[in-house]
Assembly symmetry: C2
Homo-oligomer: 155 residues x 2
DNA sequence: TCCTTTTTAGGAATCATTCTCAACAAGGCC
DNA sequence: GGCCTTGTTGAGAATGATTCCTAAAAAGGA
């Protein structure tokens, strides 16, 4: 019931300040996304929120995830199977393990240089960029012989 | 009717060699994706292929796009609105213009260094990586006052 | 309190993608 | 040529994620 103090870049109070009401469903949705590192789908958030608020509607979850992402409280990410959300709004990249399918955060990068190079080469104004890495994570490297798989479970 | 000699990394003959039959629908699907730079959706490809082969089924288009991508003849890309395909299988990055929504190819990059850095920092084995840039393209920069939009048309 | 605005639950609608399956085409073999 | 085996297709149904619609509830302000 009390806003978490968890070191995330935005507090719940900020939400209020931007003209949102911090309703019960919204608070729970935000907390669920921030409390996990699995880059949850809407369905995952829905399941979690329902434990605390059984009558919540799936439409409410979608509506608010979209809204919170549009306002910058969450990050939104498309992958082959649909949309995922990310409570970590600090700039960071992603690593996808081709063996187990897990998605990891890669803390940061120091390459403003990359943007500058692309900007001069193309004439585009670069406002943002993101990198996606693919390979095998530490756990899967240890289990040798495990080969990359195609279909991955959703969560 | 005759395979295009267009500088793309794979010719139709290669398809045959890998155990595919180069059927009429397949040839047309591949040609459509390779003949455009708009990173087409399945629906776009379907519309184009139908001009030459009116009885083609949408399922056939999806089936073969997926198959051709799995075999490396096309690249597959997820964005917020669904899957897009790309005839350019050479390593390249993408630039999305936030003003007009267009997606451009960014020819290449020279940073193996980035991969090495991430690999040592995380302990992951990096097999591949891709960068996505966001900003304003040359055309939109000239039209000042044009602000980024959210909803973009599909094609 | 009354009025206005925002938000919600619930279910229907939409839309991309995949599945099912019977018919069809190609190639090998007799 | 006929006969099998295997891969491919078209058509439409099925699935699944996401969005839309609407009436009711909640919040806030005067």
């Amino acid at each position: 019931m009390i806003p978490k103090k968890d070191g995330h870049p935005h507090g719940h109070e900020t939400l209020r300040a931007r003209g949102f009401r911090l309703t019960e469903p919204r608070r729970l949705i935000l907390d669920v996304v921030r409390a996990t590192d699995v880059h949850p789908t809407a369905a995952f958030v829905y399941r979690r929120v329902r434990k605390k608020l059984p009558r919540v509607s799936l439409a409410t979850v979608y509506r608010n995830l979209r809204m919170l992402a549009a306002e910058g409280f969450l990050a939104e990410r498309a992958d082959a199977a649909g949309m995922r959300f990310d409570g970590n709004t600090l700039p960071h990249d992603h690593f996808t393990c081709l063996a187990c399918g897990r998605l990891y955060d890669v803390p940061a990068r120091a390459d403003r240089a990359v943007r500058a190079r692309v900007a001069t080469r193309t004439g585009f104004e670069i406002l943002n960029h993101r990198a996606e890495f693919y390979g095998r994570c530490g756990a899967c490297r240890r289990q040798t012989g495990r080969s990359p798989v195609k279909g991955q479970r959703r969560s």
